[in-house]
Structures are given as C-alpha cells and as structure tokens.
Symmetry: C2
C-alpha cells in the first residue's frame, strides 16, 4: 500500500522542502499543534497549514482536531517506506560492488 509510486512521490516531494523537514523534525520529538509547529518558522500560519496539508496528504503526518486545536504526529510507517526505497537502491548497488570485488579477487587468484 505504502509502496505505490504515487504515494512515494508525495512523500519525497514533501521531504524536499526545508520547512517541511523542520516540521517533521519537530514532530519526531513529540506531537504538536499547528501553532507550535509554526512557532520556529519565519512564515505565516497560513503557509504552515499549507505545508502541513501536504505532509498529511503524503502520509508522513497524521492529524486530528479536538476542539479548535489540530494535533499532529508523525506516521512512522510512511517514513519507513521512504527509508526503504533508498535502502533498497543503495543495497543493490553495494551488493553489485561486492560481487564485482569477489569476481576480481577470483580472477586474480587464477593468475
């Protein structure tokens, strides 16, 4: 489910913006309201809400509104999906290098 390309697209796109990464960073230390997320950022609350909506659409953040405050938290599954994508590619490359190394070592032995 989390591996469908469209969702992956939204996630990486969400992580591409420094303000949004800062928000994720803040949320990694615990839940926060929209205003709390906005506080360290040099932009209007409205802008923060727009970023937050993107983060939520990407699945990286989940929010729930109680009364007038919207509380946000990280969705670790989504983070794991992004992590996983990168990890698979890196591992593929590194395993390839290993096999190449083995091959070279082996052909060296044969001399």
């Amino acid at each position: 489910m989390l591996h469908d390309p469209a969702q992956l697209d939204l996630m990486f796109q969400a992580l591409a913006d420094p303000a949004r990464r800062q928000m994720v960073d803040r949320l990694s230390r615990g839940p926060a309201s929209v205003s709390q997320l906005a506080e360290p950022l040099a932009m209007s609350l409205s802008a923060v809400v727009q970023h937050l909506n993107l983060l939520e659409a990407s699945g990286l953040v989940r929010t729930q509104k109680v009364g007038r405050v919207r509380t946000c938290q990280i969705e670790p599954k989504a983070l794991r999906a992004a992590e996983h994508w990168i990890n698979e590619r890196r591992l593929a490359w590194e395993l390839r290098l290993d096999r190449l190394g083995d091959f070279l070592a082996q052909t060296n032995d044969e001399n």
Copy 2:
C-alpha cells in the same frame, strides 16, 4: 560533510522527482551512460541531462566522461545520508513511543 543542510536539501529535492528516482533506480543496477539513462524515459535527451546535472549537484550520482560518453554511477554515501536523516527522526519517534508505553505500563502496575 554530507550532513550539511544545504546538501540534504539538494538530495531530497533530487529524489522528489519521479524521473530522477527512475534514473537512480536504473543506476542502482549498475553504471550507465546518459543515453542509456534516457532510453526508458519519455523525454528529450536534453531534459535527461538537466535531471542528471541536478542529481550530480546533489551528490547522489557521480559521473565521469571518457571520450564522448559520460558514465554515471550512484554515490552510496549520499543515499546513506538521506536514509540516515529519515531514520533518525523515525527512531526518535518510536523510542518516544516506547518510553511512553513503559510509563503507561508502569503506572498501570501501580494500581
């Protein structure tokens, strides 16, 4: 070096585009020339070169030109840096959840 925010910015931005992720995916299976990278993509070679330049600027891909062909390969260190950023945030969150779980279990025991 690889943890400076500007570089991280470039990397996540580079990964945000599906065409560029496809290029990284291709490169995870081994080095390729610009034309080889372009082949499965529905866009001009020129567009591919522009994507490639971004990937190189981000540090995710290293290229070297021999004669008239530019050969590209993945830079696993950069991938690891992106992976690491995500992993740290996710772990921070999950450890927090664990501590919270422990706390709740403990306060439950006391009843």
